[in-house]
């Protein structure tokens, strides 16, 4: 069960009318290494991992949803008042034709989200290593978004989100270490 708090994890300030930046942010919204992929990946893997690491997956998955909400807020603010002409100029003409001013789970190139972005192997080490890789890829994506963003408010939120990926990666690395401690347990009993 989840409890929803009606506020953002971190305040999002958008200072420019910039639908082009919104298009780029969609990489973290509905892209392969984005927040939706992360949230869904961890939420699903948590059933078949050793009980000591279930909580890490639940907590991080939940946090990824709050990151997704921040991105949605940024994308919405950057596009809500843009004219069809402005959207077209920003490369969002096809998006507008299909979705109007609404958001959609797709990457910066307009490719819709697919479950094939994520995996669940049923092997705890394989799954945790995928999770570590996913966090590093998300961190890198935030770096390139920070490099291309010319909105100081958005950049600030992106820096916050990037640091969270560092911590998530560390937590998954710690989870691997916790499982390594289970080595050879059977022989002791």
């Amino acid at each position: 069960m989840w409890v929803y708090e009606k506020k953002l994890l971190y305040p999002v300030e958008v200072t420019t009318c910039n639908p082009m930046l919104a298009k780029y942010l969609m990489e973290q919204y509905g892209g392969a290494d984005g927040e939706l992929a992360a949230a869904l990946r961890y939420m699903n893997q948590r059933y078949t991992v050793p009980d000591k690491v279930i909580g890490v997956l639940t907590d991080i998955s939940t946090e990824e949803f709050s990151h997704l909400e921040m991105l949605a807020t940024m994308i919405y603010k950057l596009t809500k008042d843009a004219t069809p002409e402005q959207l077209e100029k920003a490369g969002l003409g096809a998006h507008f034709v299909n979705h109007g001013h609404s958001l959609f789970y797709e990457n910066a190139g307009g490719v819709p989200f697919t479950a094939t972005y994520i995996q669940s192997k049923g092997d705890p080490i394989a799954d945790l290593y995928e999770d570590i890789a996913a966090e590093e890829k998300a961190r890198a994506t935030y770096q390139w978004l920070i490099d291309i963003s010319d909105d100081p408010g958005v950049s600030d939120a992106l820096r916050f989100l990037r640091e969270r990926e560092n911590i998530h990666s560390l937590r998954f690395r710690e989870s691997v270490e916790i499982l390594k401690e289970e080595r050879d347990r059977k022989k002791i009993f």
């Binding site: 050793p50 092997d123 499982l179």
Partner: protein
Amino acid sequence: MNQSQFRGTYRPYVSPRDPCPPILEKTFVLPPQLFTNFQKPGLPQNSPEEALKQGSLWPQFVDGFYREEGIS
């Protein structure tokens, strides 16, 4: 070959209302490479024949996997 040093176990939550007979202890693989961050030189080696059979020149990195282990 001693696989057990490359396996871990845990006891998942079991409900009195589980529909199938519950498996009380689950085993998972902790492959040998997890415990070697950087391979040291001069490790004991298999014979060429044994290396071909095992898939590794170094027995230290072989943990095997058999259906009889019952992991899945």
